[in-house]
């Protein structure tokens, strides 16, 4: 099935299964492909739900303009009550508050949701409470106009829905889908339910009463693949550090994933050969493209997961205002429009109380609304950790302990942290900016050691990360933990002299407030030079003075 046919099928499934499938997460830029797909969703009669929608718009309320004009109460129904389906444009910018409400409404049988996610690859994803409830996922990247020509005619929905009412998924197949979700490391139990619903709807679309393995395979592709992640306790620890590297550097993906599956079976040791066979059957039925999809999706999902707190800050960087709050005049910037809106309904009442007041508008202190924008601790502390063989040999454990201490401090200050590790030939971002302590801890603990010291590559990665962080409105600073014995140049060759020179040069251009922590047994001259180039204080392990130095970093 081509990506385009798959996306269309996702839309058709949603039209048939509706609430059972919950919704569609559509990752696509505006364009003819997206328009064509939205046309396909027309039977759902979706209404647009702009990201800035108010409570009154969602839940209904008073039509203030009408009410003021006519002097009587004019109500307005909310989208949640009237729309059978909601279309969320720019879903990646949906506020958590709105996402929470939509999610709650969906749980209570509210409108089916179609999220139009226009995020750039490194921008994260719509809020998790929302994506959790969107059954199917489709991507429209790389779909050409020529593909659109091959659009099959829309299905006969009335017929499909009639079959759907009596269609069922055999228990064994349902169990296989549940097991597949578990194998993919998907914690939520909504996912397998969506997969079962999708399989059932797919059977119905083809006019069958009973779902078969092909339906299940399609369901896995649409409902499970994009959620795939590894169970954190087992595989991610070993897998995570490699996740960011180029695919070519890894073992062939097919083998890795198949092995992983088998390892899982052994590790769980449930001894249920029947279930295992079902899982294998489901796995064998997976479309060939799935594993690749899974890898890509997992990388994205990692980025998305880690941006739980980060994404909100990104939106702060773009200056998204928060809803105005009541406040006192002088306590902040007054939001004039909101203040007037707050005062408007009370005019009749106040006029009655003070008929002789010459003022046209009767404002009270309680009306004052202050404009707010997302303001958080904007500092991002990037920890760049030397995980090379030389560092690992000496004081890796101590360094980890020190970072954990620093992480705690950063956490206490509500800072964001990011983790960059460097070893062997390069550096990688182990953890994009986040405030989640749980994640930082997990990633740090999984940090393996060994190999050369690609210090320059690490600094390049830090510079890159810092750039992105600045764009997102964060103020980055750097804590570099290394013994300073750089021996891998930027191009990955082992050349001690060039490595040091490159590192120094990059350090000079970095322009970040920094702190260098010497993890070596005695300070290498190159490290002194590096610290000087960074303009950073140099402290050595054990942690003496490190906390103090950290607080010195500018906010």
């Amino acid at each position: 099935m081509t990506p385009w046919a798959l996306a269309l099928r996702a839309a058709d499934l949603l039209c048939v299964a509706r609430g059972e499938l919950g919704g569609l997460w559509l990752r696509a830029r505006p364009g003819p492909a997206r328009d064509a797909l939205l046309d396909r969703l027309a039977p759902l009669e979706p209404r647009r739900c702009p990201p800035g929608i108010t409570d009154a718009g969602l839940f209904g309320g008073i039509d203030l303009a009408q009410a003021l004009a006519s002097g009587r109460l004019v109500g307005r129904a909310g989208l949640l009550d009237t729309a059978p389906a909601l279309l969320l444009p720019m879903a990646e910018r949906t506020e958590t508050g709105l996402a929470g409400r939509l999610a709650a409404a969906r749980d209570a049988g509210g409108p089916v949701l179609v999220a139009l996610d226009e995020a750039a690859p490194d921008e994260g994803a719509p809020p998790a409470p929302l994506t959790e409830r969107l059954g199917a996922f489709a991507v429209l990247d790389g779909i050409a106009l020529a593909d659109l020509a091959e659009t099959p005619p829309p299905p006969d929905l009335a017929a499909a829905r009639a079959v759907h009412a009596r269609a069922r998924v055999p228990d064994a197949l349902a169990a296989a889908l549940v097991a597949t979700a578990a194998r993919l490391g998907i914690a939520t139990l909504r996912a397998p339910r969506f997969a079962i619903a999708a399989a059932r709807a797919n059977a119905a679309l083809d006019g069958r009463d009973e779902a078969n393995e092909d339906d299940a395979a399609l369901a896995v592709r649409l409902c499970l693949a994009h959620r795939g992640t590894s169970p954190p306790e087992t595989e991610e620890e070993q897998e995570a550090p490699d996740e960011g590297t180029e695919d070519g550097a890894d073992a062939p993906p097919d083998r890795t994933d198949a092995d992983r599956g088998r390892d899982d079976g052994d590790a769980e040791g449930d001894g249920d050969a029947g279930a295992d066979r079902l899982v294998e059957a489901a796995r064998a039925a997976l479309p060939p493209g799935l594993l690749a999809t899974l890898r890509a999706a997992r990388a994205r999902r990692d980025a998305a997961a880690s941006s739980g707190a980060g994404a909100r800050t990104a939106s702060a960087g773009r200056g998204r205002p928060l809803p105005p709050r009541p406040g006192r005049a002088g306590a902040g910037r007054i939001d004039a429009a909101a203040t007037l809106r707050a005062a408007a309904p009370w005019q009749t009442l106040r006029r009655r109380a003070a008929p002789d007041d010459p003022r046209r508008l009767l404002l009270r202190p309680g009306d004052i609304r202050l404009a707010r924008s997302e303001r958080r601790t904007d500092r991002l502390v990037i920890f760049a950790v030397d995980a090379s063989g030389s560092a690992a040999m000496s004081r890796m454990a101590e360094a980890k302990g020190a970072i954990e201490g620093l992480l705690s401090d950063s956490y206490a200050a509500r800072d964001h942290v990011a983790l960059v590790a460097f070893r062997r030939e390069g550096a990688e971002v182990l953890l994009p900016p986040t405030r989640s302590l749980t994640q930082s801890r997990r990633r740090l603990r999984a940090l393996p050691g060994g190999g050369g010291t690609p210090l320059a590559a690490a600094l390049a990665e830090v510079a890159d990360l810092a750039d992105r962080a600045r764009r997102a409105g964060l103020t980055p600073s750097l804590v570099l933990l290394t013994d300073g014995r750089a021996n891998i140049a930027l191009d990955g060759t082992a050349d001690r002299a060039r490595a040091s020179a490159e590192a120094e040069e990059l350090a000079r251009g970095l322009g970040l407030p920094a702190l260098v922590v010497d993890t070596g047994t005695r300070t290498a001259p190159a490290l002194r030079a590096l610290a000087a180039a960074l303009g950073a204080p140099l402290v050595s392990l054990p942690r003496a003075g490190m906390e103090a130095a950290l607080t010195e970093l500018p906010r």
Binding site: D55, I62, A67, L68, G71, R72, L73, E95, T96, G97, L98, G100, R101, A104, D107, A128, P129, E132, D171, A174, A175, V178, A179, A182, A187, T188, L189, R190, A191, P192, R193, I196, E268, D270, D272, A275, A305, G308, A309, P323, R325, P326, P345, W346, T348, L349, R351, R352, R364, G366, E404, G405, L407, S408, Y411, R435, S436, L437, T438, R441
Partner: protein, 341 residues
């Protein structure tokens, strides 16, 4: 008539269901915080519990669910003051809800159309004598958190606006849920929750299949499913009611008080609130178990959920608070089986 998914049909998640039942026995325990993965039945459990609980007797038109007409706040206008049965209220507090909606505000409709001052009660009023449920509680805006802390502390909601001064009782069991990967809770809010439990998705495939199977059965034929679970629901309801009766005359021996104190000192948990919650939860556990007095078994049973969120944070502690508590409980009380009397 269909109801929510039955409480007793929830597969696994013993800690969560146990904590919720304990608060149903004694609401003064002060709420439950459920942290863990999405899609593990957190909100299902809360809604199911409310349906399981016996209905409350309340004045029909009273906005704050007063038990007797005499208890109604003076601003409340009730056309119908008969005392009727109604289900235990469960009120959702949506993220990003405005303060007006939470605390209540002047009735905009009346002000606009009739120029009258009248109070329109908010979510806190509706939650009185019931449950206030906050999903994704760790994403709640700070100003709402402050407001909730204040009300939860005092049990009263006070609104001052337009020369109107309104106050009404707002006693509710606060139930929060969230996913720790998305941010942590402020310690002040953590402390307000009586019990905290962690939930995770069941690891074992059979359990997962069973969860899906029950859910599917419920959705396919809710009436039949509810009928099948009715006896179990009724039994649990009876147990809760019996425990509520028993808890009043339950003895708390001196030894249990000393045990509570010893445990809290050994754990270094802050403040007396932990000790008090521990004792209340243990009393509820004892009452549920049909015991005549609180024993070490009951304390052991509830120690983790009552205390794990009150320990001085060591954010990087490898073992996690849970293990720490289990270890210290073992040290203070001796190994588990040995204490069986």
């Amino acid at each position: 008539m269909t109801g929510p998914f039955p409480f007793t049909a929830i597969v696994g998640q013993d800690d969560m269901t146990r904590a919720l039942v304990l608060t149903a026995v004694d609401p003064r325990i002060g709420g439950v915080l459920v942290m863990g993965d999405r899609g593990t039945g957190k909100s299902t459990a809360v809604r199911a519990l409310a349906h399981l609980l016996p209905p409350i007797r309340a004045v029909a038109d009273c906005p704050v669910n007063s038990a007797r007409p005499a208890d109604m706040p003076d601003w409340a206008e009730a056309a119908d003051t008969r005392v009727v049965s109604r289900p235990t209220p469960v009120v959702d507090l949506p993220l990003g809800a405005g303060e007006d909606r939470v605390t209540g505000a002047l009735d905009i409709e009346r002000a606009l159309t009739m120029g009258e001052k009248a109070f329109q009660p908010g979510l806190l009023a509706r939650a009185n004598r019931g449950y206030l449920y906050i999903d994704e509680v760790n994403l709640l805006e700070d100003h709402l958190v402050d407001l909730l802390l204040d009300v939860a502390q005092s049990g009263r909601n006070v609104v001052e606006r337009e020369g109107l001064s309104i106050s009404h009782p707002a006693r509710f069991v606060l139930v929060g849920s969230g996913n720790p990967e998305e941010g942590e809770l402020r310690p002040q809010l953590l402390d307000r929750f009586g019990l905290m439990v962690e939930v995770s998705s069941p690891r074992d495939i059979d359990t997962r299949v069973e969860v899906i199977r029950r859910r599917d059965a419920y959705e396919r034929a809710p009436a039949a499913f509810l009928r099948d679970w009715k006896p179990a629901e009724a039994a649990l309801r009876r147990d809760i009611l019996a425990a509520r009766k028993r808890i009043a005359r339950l003895d708390t021996p001196e030894a249990a008080l000393r045990d509570c104190a010893a445990l809290c000192v050994a754990l270094g948990s802050d403040g007396l609130r932990g000790e008090l919650t521990l004792l209340r939860a243990a009393r509820a556990a004892a009452a549920l178990a049909g015991a005549d007095e609180v024993g070490r078994d009951h304390l052991r049973d509830v120690a983790a959920m009552a205390l794990q969120h009150r320990l001085r944070r060591d954010p990087m502690d490898e073992s996690g608070s849970r293990t720490r508590i289990d270890r210290i409980v073992g040290e203070v009380f001796g190994p588990a089986p040995a204490t069986a009397e």
